[in-house]
């Protein structure tokens, strides 16, 4: 923003912070604060803005001049609390600093009685409803408020919904929302602000569910009531970075308490945390109950101490179920959960005797005693909303509404007829520059706006030198952008746009798109760019066409800003592109357009979504929106020379220096090719371009093993997957030097990593997957009873050396440990129903005692004949060494002591499952 007033405004801004007389509460008109409150600004221009925004011309008639329609007061009783109306009407500026509403009874000895009469009158239009706050909605609302654009005009807010500590420049104040609104009242307003405020200064931005969320957020009580009764769980909250669920019973929690059941929203961080939720549930009948966990990341559910559902691991939302037989009566439920990074969700469901599948949360309580207690309704705040409307006072109030000046600005239908003000005031042209409302202390009976000195000076100048309403479209645009505070988000002609402070409020899902993807665009040239129909609609109703940009365009209402469509169109022009004459049929042209957009040609779809289908890298604006949004000539200009229209854009061109990179398509001319793409995008039901979407790329070992090193789910970031032709597969975790998983059937689908940017972890393609616990496979134990070491195996001395392969690519992993080189050769035992045999060869360069191999860990290990051991659901056998079972740390372990004769040892570990 390079307005000449900028420095002045900054100085003024700091003056505001240092509590000089200028900082006293005064009506805030954002355009005036930003552009006309400094010493070097043109007072007459600023004053003209104020004449409209403060509605002076509603009383002081003028030949010209816009006025901002005041809020429609129909049904005001359903929107605002009586207690608020009472305080506000008595002294608006002290109840809501920055309000543009004047006080009509300042200095009036009868103020209290008059205000009370008005309150009765207004309350006769209805009364407010109340609802309980919703914690989940509050959390969503905080997010919505911060992201979609509210903060650009109203300033950032903190966790509790209060204005954030840092100064909010030119922010439109919201006043004491808790005092004025109830949640449903505020939600109704936010869902359709233009209904009661048709002037559109507050535009429409939120969907109905978002309106409820934001209302919950802004109207938070000072302390969240700890609920009692059904629908609660006791919680312990932990922080840490894990790849699996921890034993939360053993860890030290950061926070404990009772909350809404299974509510992870109370976490203090966005990632790297965990919860243990404990609650009690009453089974009305004995029988089988099925519990379902849907979570991102991992979770598990225990009933009466027994694990029923295991949904562990780092993963996007996955759903797992488990069943258990329960007796009739009370049972304890524990749900453990952890969050790595990214998305976080947890939902718990139950199904069983007499219960169709439903959320478990309403059926649990934090303690047994509370199981049958219903949640208490919140003790109501002192209800100064209670008002029995007295008809005599209401009648008096109605009279005041007409005579005191309310009806000059506010419309209100009484008995179906609009109320007409009886207040009078001199015409604008006849006013003196320092009397009336402009006096430092206006006489009683005159509207008191609490103007500051700058505003009074500006208004005086505007009255002395009336400015004609702009007719030149350029001036019309500037005037509208000023009036509607478009400048809070948009710059045009180097005026306005986010300031250094407010710039930080704009966020994006995709930082690599730069400011193009984060900040609302400057409006230079918008009339040449956007289709008038589209522009009209987005000005009227708003738009949200850039999914990566959190801020969205609000709707200001056609009656307020509809005129801008023609104004932009007439001011902004681009060179027109002559019509294109094709030498091919329409279907061939469309086919060429489709080809050019696809992955085999210009690759537009690498960055742009198409009909909602995802692009390869960034998710740029959808291509099918283009013919709706854009003007054809602009499309031509931008495709061929994007840097000219938007310097610094990441958009590349397929026609560098005007020359196509594919000169063989159609006639090779830039405009022909662009026109063909335009025709394709605008055609009826265009077929999706080639190369969109992820295919299935299973790696299938036929004669040789296939090795696949990448991020494998369950085997870490240094995973080595091996698929064998015998349809056995394994994943070795080279971070922890252990066999992480073995499975049967399909090896792995490479599509995730070999398509687009290859993001994320891919799991086994087949099934019958055995996952082995974390921890080193080899350790030195001081004695056979010593607990197996935890921590990172590399810290315990294990070093990964690599692997060698047979002629048919079967690897032998090699690692070193305390001077011992270990070779680990896994191989299927044969073609028919093979087991997996792992041949270990150890060679030490020195004598090492106390080396053990941990062959298995489980809850129960017992011999099962033929040398096999049954470990929970699978079997393991050791050949060439003497394994033994022991209990350690609440688990069973199968340990194999290494006896290195001549410093070598060899044994085979075999898995059957």
């Amino acid at each position: 923003m390079r307005s000449p007033a900028r420095l002045a405004v900054l100085i003024l801004g700091s003056a505001v912070l240092t509590a000089t007389p200028l900082s006293a509460a005064h009506p805030i008109v954002p355009g005036f604060e930003r552009f006309y409150s400094g010493p070097d600004t043109e007072p007459a221009k600023g004053g003209t803005l104020l004449l409209g925004e403060l509605n002076c011309v509603s009383c002081h008639a003028a030949a010209e001049g816009t006025k901002k329609q005041a809020p429609v007061l129909d049904g005001i009783g359903t929107r605002a609390r009586v207690s608020h109306l009472r305080k506000f009407l008595a002294d608006p500026q002290s109840v809501k600093p920055g309000t543009t509403m004047p006080g009509l009874f300042a200095g009036d000895p009868d103020k209290e009685a008059k205000v009370e009469a008005l309150v009765h009158f207004l309350a006769s239009t209805g009364s407010v409803k109340q609802t309980r706050p919703d914690l989940k909605a509050t959390i969503r609302g905080k997010d919505t408020y911060a992201k979609v654009g509210c903060a650009a005009c109203h300033g950032p807010r903190d966790l509790t919904g209060e204005p954030a500590k840092q100064a909010a420049e030119f922010a439109v104040p919201l006043g004491d929302l808790k005092g004025k609104y109830t949640i449903p009242a505020l939600a109704a307003f936010l869902a359709n602000p233009l209904q009661s405020r048709p002037a559109g200064r507050m535009p429409h931005l939120l969907k109905p569910n978002e309106a409820t969320d934001v209302a919950n957020y802004l109207l938070q009580g000072t302390k969240l009531n700890v609920p009692a009764g059904m629908g609660t769980t006791a919680y312990s909250y932990f922080e840490g970075g894990w790849e699996n669920l921890q034993d939360f019973g053993k860890l030290k929690s950061k926070l404990q308490g009772t909350s809404v059941a299974f509510e992870i929203g109370i976490a203090k961080a966005e990632s790297h945390y965990g919860f243990r939720f404990e609650g009690y549930f009453r089974a009305e009948a004995a029988g089988k109950y099925t519990f379902t966990l849907s979570s991102d990341d991992g979770s598990r559910l225990l009933v009466d101490g027994e694990k029923v559902v295991d949904n562990d691991g780092v993963h996007a939302t996955e759903i797992k179920s488990g069943s258990i037989e329960l007796t009739k009566g009370v049972h304890k439920v524990i749900v453990d959960y952890f969050q790595g990074g990214g998305e976080a969700t947890l939902d718990v469901a139950i199904e069983g005797r007499g219960l169709v599948r439903q959320p478990l949360a309403p059926l649990v309580a934090a303690t047994e005693e509370e199981l049958d207690r219903k949640p208490e309704p919140k003790k109501n705040e002192k209800d100064d909303n209670a008002l029995t409307v007295r008809p005599d006072l209401a009648e008096k109030g109605k009279g005041l509404f007409l005579s005191a000046g309310c009806a000059s600005c506010h419309t209100l239908l009484a008995g179906g007829k609009p109320l007409v003000s009886t207040a009078t005031a001199p015409e604008l042209g006849k006013l003196k520059p320092n009397g009336g409302c402009l006096a430092e202390t206006p006489a009683p009976g005159l509207p008191r706006y609490d103007l500051n000195a700058v505003q009074r000076r500006a208004l005086a100048a505007a009255i002395a030198k009336p400015q004609a309403a702009p007719t030149d479209p350029k001036a019309v645009i500037a005037n509208s952008m000023l009036t509607f505070n478009c400048y809070a988000c948009h710059a045009r002609d180097k005026v306005g746009g986010p300031t250094e402070l407010t710039d930080k409020l704009f966020t994006t899902t995709t930082p690599e798109m730069g400011d193009e993807g984060r900040v609302p665009p400057p409006l230079d040239g918008v009339g040449a760019k956007l289709n008038p129909d589209y522009l009209k609609q987005l000005l009227d109703k708003g738009a949200d066409d850039r999914p990566y940009m959190h801020a969205r365009m609000p709707g200001f209402g056609n009656s307020n800003v509809g005129h801008l469509t023609a104004a932009f169109g007439s001011v902004d022009a681009l060179p027109s592109v002559p019509p294109v004459k094709f030498a091919q049929t329409e279907s061939k042209v469309i086919s060429a357009g489709r080809f050019m957009v696809g992955a085999q040609a210009f690759g537009c779809i690498k960055c742009h979504t198409f009909a909602g289908n995802k692009a390869e890298g960034v998710q740029g604006i959808d291509m099918l929106l283009m013919p709706k949004r854009l003007k054809r000539d602009w499309f031509h200009g931008y495709c061929i020379d994007p840097q000219k229209i938007r310097p610094g854009t990441r958009m590349p061109t397929a026609w560098p220096n005007g020359q196509s990179v594919l000169p063989n398509v159609l006639d090779g001319q830039a405009h022909t090719q662009v026109e063909a793409i335009w025709a394709y995008l605008g055609s009826k039901s265009p077929q999706i371009p080639a190369g969109m979407g992820r295919k299935f790329m299973p790696l299938i070992p036929r004669d040789e093993a296939i090795i696949y090193r990448n991020f494998i789910q369950g085997a870490g970031t240094r995973a080595i997957g091996v698929g064998y032709p015998e349809k056995l597969n394994l994943a070795f975790d080279a971070n922890e030097l252990r066999l992480a998983m073995i499975w049967k059937g399909g090896f792995i689908d490479a599509a995730r990593h070999w398509t687009d940017r290859g993001d994320g972890f891919e799991g086994p393609l087949g099934d019958e997957t055995l996952r082995f616990p974390a921890g080193a496979s080899f350790a030195v134990l001081s004695k056979p009873e010593a607990p197996w070491p935890g921590g990172n195996p590399r810290d315990a001395g294990l070093k990964f050396l690599g692997y060698s392969t047979t002629k048919d690519e079967r690897p032998t992993f090699r690692y070193a440990f305390h001077g011992i080189t270990i070779e680990d050769f896994p191989n299927p035992s044969g073609k028919e129903n093979p087991t997996l045999q792992r041949t270990f060869t150890l060679a030490a360069d020195r004598r090492v005692d106390g080396v053990y191999f941990r062959a298995a860990v489980g809850s129960k290990i017992e011999p099962s004949g033929g040398g096999w051991f049954r470990v929970d659901g699978w079997k393991v056998r050791i050949d060439g060494a003497e394994p033994f079972v022991r209990q350690s740390d609440g688990k069973s372990e199968l340990l194999v002591p290494m006896r290195l004769t001549d410093r070598t040892a060899k044994f085979v570990q075999e898995f059957a499952w």
């Binding site: 094709f582 091919q584 610094g648």
Partner: protein
Amino acid sequence: MVSYLTQDQPMLKYRWFLISALVLALAGGAAAQGKRSKADEEDEYYKLLRFETPPGEVLEAGAIEPLPDSKVAVSTRRGEVWLIENAYASDPKEAKFTRFAHGLHEVLGLAHKDGWLYVTQRPDVSRIKDTDGDGKADRFEVVAEGWGISGDYHEYAIGSKFDKDGNIWVTLCLTGSFTSDARFRGWAGKITPEGKFVPTTSGVRSPGGVGFNAEGDVFYTDNQGPWNGACGLKHLTVGGFVGHPGGFKWYKDPAARYLGAEPTTPKSGSRMMTEAKKIPQLNPTCVLFPYGKMGQSAAGIDCDLSGGKFGPFEKQLFVGDQTHSTVMRVFLEKVNGHYQGACFPFRSGFGSGCVPVRFGQDGSLFVGGTNRGWGSRGTKPFSIERLAWTGKVPFEIHEMRAKPDGFELTFTKPVDPATAGKPESYVMKTYTYIYQSAYGSPEVDHTTPKITKVEVGKDGKSVRLVVDKLQEGHVHDLTASGIRSVDGQMLLHPNAYYTLNYIPSK
């Protein structure tokens, strides 16, 4: 507005169009359409030969290394290593591709020594060998690990060939290209001949390639983004900091303690030269590649040490660009002890997004391409190509050196003194970029210095530009379209972009 061929027009007419279109296509497209493309012009001097990769195989090139037995090794993003036989044949169709190794984790660096092929892959530097002579690698040994991976796809590890001391240099991209969530993300380091990873330089953001100049000093390219207003070529030194402070926490890691305390965090919104004066470890970007004019994603680097087999640009650097599918040329000099210099357009029209560039034994330049996940002008999803000098010397700006009062340009051919000696033949503007934590930067602080005098050198192959108001820290953007050679040729590429970090005193 638009008109199509309609179905009921006489078929004969349509057939004529169809045939002529076919003829035009067979004739090679653009040439018949009118003006020659730049790539066609450049082809006269440097021929672009495209290899045919085996059908059905995907070779998204990550690194290239010529081998002593005349084969050329190419590694891919899918973790394979392929060997090309007859890579130097004048007809690229004669080349034969065989797969040497597979199952590696995204190999973006290759270096050969003593029969071992060293691969820089995401988790480590390993070396591989075929010990049983069946043409396939069977021995895979870890050489050095030492950095962290969090599971984010953007955490690339890009490795060099061997430097003169037997080290391999590795640059480690930031997590997501924004933060440093794993050990030494945002750093560069070397793997010593003993197999130890030694972190040397902080400040790396999103590297595209790493290579050496003729003196054996190490350079890498970084990409436009936070703390990088545009892509640039940067010099890696032990103890240096090259721009992005995201990885500072690793100064406390035992492996980096020998470097001492972390540098002061630069102030966002400033200029690189301003911060460089305050932060002694900060090495300003040696050569900026102005965004949109000189590519948008700088990548692989190699130096022409062919002794003249690749034309007149001996000892200069060649840098690939993944978005523009081009190879750019860089001339470096040292001023005040720091490397800086100019970049010039060199060759366009590559098949995919250029990533690795590497000179072969015969002085031709191998260029590998991939554009999966990003866009490129080259429309192929991957490509392996070879650029060979035709023997014809193009008329180009050869070198551009900074002087206390301007610049000295040398040319590949003698210039026509009348055009080359006129200040009006040259247009110069300067600008720089904001050094800030926000993503990229527009060109800022524009100035238009005046070229007050031009002197043609006695050998007729150089000019001395006297320029008033040189701007320290600015790109000096020169267009010399007015110059002609003595035979009346125009410069093949009239643009040069000199990053004037330091103005020499003599």
